[in-house]
């Protein structure tokens, strides 16, 4: 009989432990920046960790005044191979639009360092050998420094990846954690009370239940206290809701783009260099949303067929796209990099694969460069700028295995 209270205690404890553990795991907690940028960050961290080691392995080669035997050339060959690998990884980062300016610079620095290494290998044993090694070492050091700079642009000191990446996320996560604490304390309190009750008041021979119909004082206590807490929560959150959704609180910025959801893709139209929609220089993209870091960004959200929902989990933004309505959505991102855009409202058989990539550029210049490049591609492919062919390509490319 008494073991039933143990069952309830056990389940309550596991349930509580789950939420206590969650903040310590990126894959459990609210979606973070790392989720979609892990590979590129790993590349940068790899560079930061490996470059000094390789540089120091080259230092003993200085002052060598005769051609070295192949064994002693080993560090140079290793460095070269490593730099080749980093170039390939950085190529992937550029391909995925991760900090494109920095990644490109890193890639060319890798190429420069590789050239220096190759030159040093050739010159080893000659009088210029030491200088060539110095150049290779400083190339590696510069490579490391640049990687470090790129990392510090997206990773907080201390390496926490759970920091929020948008204004909305800051407010929402704060509220979420507050609610987690309030409900967590309530749950633990109720669970303990329940387990104690089940343990202490299990039927035992010779003991009678207490004859009581309740207590007005207790009823008042457990009405007024929860009511106060609930009203507090209700009032406390209004600010965040207003900041995210009320247009009156928004900064006065021109809309970045018009996002039209359709089965099963996101059609995005940028006004182009002239800043006006409906002109020939509009840029049409499919499943590809770009904006600039730290800039409050507004899009106009529309639907072309059924209801969809514009969901940026890492930026904590969600807004349904409703047929017949144009709904402005405000968001921003504090870190440049890649994010995912999901459809969160059931929209048909392909709902699950209605994914778009979101690229946050580090500077307006980088964004403008992407815009110019994309416009050139658009001109090249079809002057009438029909997005239809791109639709087909995107739809077939998105098929999830």
């Amino acid at each position: 009989m008494r073991y039933w209270s143990v069952l309830f205690a056990l389940v309550s404890a596991i349930v509580t432990a789950t939420f206590v553990y969650a903040p310590f795991d990126d894959d459990w907690w609210l979606p973070s920046y790392r989720a979609t940028n892990a590979q590129s960050i790993d590349t940068l961290e790899g560079i930061q960790a490996q470059a000094p080691r390789l540089a120091s392995s080259l230092v003993p080669l200085r002052g060598l005044d005769e051609p070295a035997d192949p064994e002693r050339l080993e560090p140079l060959d290793q460095t070269r191979a490593w730099l080749d690998r980093q170039s390939a990884l950085l190529g992937q980062a550029i391909q995925s639009n991760f900090l494109t300016t920095r990644s490109r610079a890193l890639e060319s620095q890798a190429a420069r360092a590789r050239a220096a290494v190759v030159e040093a290998r050739d010159l080893l044993g000659t009088p210029e050998g030491s200088e060539a090694i110095d150049r290779a070492v400083s190339g590696l050091e510069r490579f490391e420094t640049m990687a470090g700079e790129a990392l510090s642009a997206v990773v907080e000191p201390g390496g926490s990846m759970r920091a929020t990446v948008s204004t909305a996320a800051g407010q929402i996560d704060h509220l979420y954690i507050l609610l987690l604490i309030i409900t967590g304390v309530t749950f633990v309190g109720v669970a303990i009370a329940l387990v104690v009750v089940l343990w202490r008041f299990r039927a035992q021979p010779g003991r009678r239940a207490h004859y009581s119909h309740g207590s007005l004082r207790l009823e008042i206590v457990w009405t007024v206290i929860p009511a106060a807490i609930l009203v507090f929560i209700a009032l406390y959150q209004l600010r965040a809701w207003a900041d995210v959704k009320f247009q009156g609180t928004w900064p006065d910025v021109r809309p970045l783009a018009e996002v039209t959801a359709r089965q099963f893709q996101w059609k995005i139209r940028y006004p182009g260099p002239d800043g006006r929609f409906g002109t020939p220089d509009d840029l049409h993209t499919v499943n590809d949303l770009h904006f600039v870091k730290d800039e409050p960004t507004i899009i106009h959200l529309k639907a072309e067929d059924v209801i969809h929902s514009f969901f940026l989990p890492q930026l904590r933004i969600k807004q349904d796209a409703v047929p017949g309505m144009t709904i402005p959505v405000l968001f921003d991102a504090r870190k440049a990099g890649r994010y995912e855009l999901l459809c969160a409202e059931l929209c048909g058989w392909g709902h699950y694969k209605m994914r778009a990539q979101v690229v946050v550029h580090e500077s307006q210049g980088e964004f403008d460069e992407w815009m110019a490049q994309s416009l050139r591609e658009q001109e090249r492919s079809d002057p009438t700028a029909s997005p239809a062919s791109a639709d087909v390509a995107a739809a077939s490319g998105l098929r999830v295995e």
Binding site: L30, Y176, V197, I307
Partner: protein, 642 residues
């Protein structure tokens, strides 16, 4: 065929002659109720003049009228129970198919894949997943939880608990059951029409639902879905009118409103909710049906076409459907939880051998939930494009509705505190209801907080919440009710050992299935995704691993229910014979035989006090049936609490 006691001949009056006797198999020393009339100070609340109590119909001899087209509320209740449990199995199997796909996307389901999708190499098409989620939700809500709680237990218990011979409108009652049959047939048939069953979600949002070419399930399945829901809705409406009338008009002498058990109160408020909210759903269903069939445009924006289909003139608005649908479906959430709350209150009091803590506050809490339940529907639409200022007001009312739920929880704990708790299967399930409802209630605060809802709306966090309320709450409530009233329904006891094993495994597997949904939901895994692994956010060992863990627990949960099925049927034929009052409970249904005779009571009982007089210090027995007066020297009942 009316069983109205008033138009009866003087024949067939069981127990009409001679002195009043206690119920035949009652083991306890029940003193016979007063012969006629009422104890001093008790106002007869029944609509009948006292002398009419004796007129009763015999049970029909024709088995077709007795067991199939029966007007007996007990038979109808049992019919609702069986149909509901059959659909519970169907809905559960759909859920397992959903879980299978989420754990091992696009992999073969054992045996099923080859059978159903041999043309596609045994791979389930993605639209079928949408059918699974749509039909699982629809069936569980409209064909399992509502029919079992209100149809089965409401029907069976209301007349017995208020001391009536039957419902006020027995024929309407019979019709309310048989109106479910077209719904049953249609919802199953919809799988077989071209395009298959509906895929617009159990919420059926247009234009996805109203345009034929938007998705295969909208071709024909959606029309059938709408018709099935219409029949189910009309059935519920008939039931609720009957319940309201019965509770108001047919209470036994002395059964004042504040002497009714919580179950009856909950059924009463539920029926009010249904009666006021269902007409709105019915209109909405008809509007969508017209949009689909005769070309009206209630929910179609101007000049609209979907998926290259023909353009419609439009002029309506998709959000109108959401308002109408949730105006019903939010109260429907309380339709699905309030009866379970009432049931659990009675069971906890009985097995704690202690009066219900704060009976009247509990009643007012139920009433408060019902009133507030009508002004919170907008919280389903925070991200819908509705004016965000309106969202702020709905947020406030939603926060407030958490309050009566909190009060109820504390009162249940207060009831058990100081009690003498008997851990029967029914009690364990009732305690599980309280424990799980706490989780479901607390997680509701997250989505009531509008900014947090921005993130968790339409994710698995919501799925976790609804399942903690509807499985952890309502379904454990149904289990509790089944174990508790099975002896009364069928005259035999269920096996307690099997019941406890079933409970323990259900409780563990339930939490294993649904608790991790909070975590993956917090991590933004969207609901209704056939495959989440195409996203970098979710394609990691933790999310996939948790989904597999949930599926394994769900399979365990499914298999565990076989214990209940076995226990149910084995007890039905070979269970120990039940006495009239096996739990030594106070309410009226236990003061008559198990199962009750056709006419429910030998004599209409007279009621002296609320149903919660347990462990009176003046008595050796720890219970005092409602049919027996409290000792004259005992303190009067607290007018605020009891």
């Amino acid at each position: 065929m009316s069983t109205d006691p008033q138009d009866l001949g003087p024949t067939d009056k069981p127990g009409a002659s001679g002195a009043p006797q206690p119920a035949p198999s009652s083991p306890d020393p029940v003193s016979p109720g007063p012969d006629s009339g009422h104890p001093p100070g008790v106002i007869p609340s029944s609509g009948h003049a006292p002398g009419h109590d004796e007129h009763i119909h015999p049970a029909p001899r024709n088995p077709l009228l007795r067991y199939v087209f029966s007007t007996d509320h007990k038979i109808i209740g049992i019919q609702f129970l069986f149909s509901g449990l059959i659909f519970f199995v169907i809905g559960g199997l759909l859920a397992l198919a959903i879980r299978w796909q989420l754990a091992w996307p696009w992999s073969d389901m054992p045996h099923l894949s080859d059978l159903l999708w041999s043309a596609q190499d045994g791979v389930m098409p993605p639209e079928f997943y949408n059918k699974l989620v749509t039909m699982h939700g629809t069936i569980m809500i409209f064909f399992v939880i509502i029919p079992i709680l209100t149809g089965a237990f409401g029907n069976f218990l209301i007349p017995l608990m208020i001391g009536a011979r039957d419902m006020a409108f027995p024929t309407l009652n019979m019709l309310s059951y048989w109106f479910m049959w077209p719904a049953f047939a249609l919802i199953l048939y919809s799988f077989a029409v071209p395009g298959g069953a509906s895929e617009a979600g159990w919420t059926g949002y247009p234009p996805l639902a109203s345009f034929f070419w938007s998705t295969p399930g909208s071709l024909n399945g959606q029309t059938i879905w709408l018709m099935a829901l219409l029949f189910a809705g009309v059935s519920s409406l008939m039931g609720s009118i009957n319940y309201i009338t019965t509770i108001l008009m047919l209470r036994a002498p002395g059964m004042t409103l504040f002497r009714m058990p919580m179950t009856v109160w909950a059924m009463f408020v539920t029926a009010l909710l249904q009666a006021f909210a269902l007409p709105v759903l019915t209109s909405a269903l008809i509007m969508q049906l017209l949009d689909r069939t005769v070309g009206t445009n209630f929910f179609t924006p101007p000049d609209w076409s979907v998926a290259g289909g023909p353009e419609r003139v439009g002029g309506g608005h998709p959000l109108l459907w959401q308002h109408l649908f949730w105006f019903y479906s939010h109260p429907a959430v309380y339709v699905m939880i309030l009866p379970a709350m009432g049931i659990v209150s009675d069971i906890i009091s009985t097995f704690s051998r202690k009066p219900l803590f704060g009976y009247k506050p509990m009643v007012f809490a139920v009433g408060g939930i019902a009133l507030l339940g009508f002004i919170v529907w907008g919280h389903h639409m925070f991200q819908s494009g509705m004016n965000p200022a309106l969202g702020a007001t709905f947020m406030l009312s939603t926060m407030l509705i958490a309050l009566p739920s909190a009060i109820k929880t504390f009162n249940w704990l207060g009831t058990m505190w100081g009690g003498s708790i008997h851990f029967t299967s029914a009690m364990l399930n009732a305690i599980a209801f309280v424990a799980m409802f706490v989780i479901g209630g607390l997680s509701g605060i997250f989505m009531a907080a509008t900014p947090v809802d921005i993130h968790i709306h339409d994710t698995y966090f919501i799925v976790a919440h609804i399942h903690y309320v509807l499985f952890g709450g309502s379904t454990f409530g149904i289990f509790a009710a089944l174990y508790y009233w099975f002896p009364k329904m069928f005259g035999r006891m269920m096996n307690e050992t099997l019941g406890k094993i079933h409970f323990a495994l259900s409780f563990l597997f339930f939490n294993g299935t649904f608790f991790p949904m909070h975590i993956v939901g917090m991590h933004a895994q969207p609901r209704r995704y056939a495959d989440y692994t195409g996203y970098e956010l979710f394609n990691n060992d933790a999310i996939i691993g948790m989904n597999q863990f949930m599926t394994i627990c769900a399979l365990g949960l499914g298999v565990t229910q076989l214990i209940l099925v076995y226990n149910f049927f084995a007890s039905l034929v070979a269970g120990r014979r039940a006495t009239a009052n096996p739990w030594y409970a106070n309410s009226l249904e236990w003061q008559t035989a198990s199962p009750p005779p056709h006419y429910n009571f030998e004599r209409i009982p007279t009621v002296y006090h609320p149903a919660y007089e347990y462990s009176l210090p003046e008595f050796e027995a720890d219970y005092l049936p409602q049919t027996e007066p409290r000792p004259s020297d005992s303190e009067p009942l607290d007018s605020v609490m009891a």
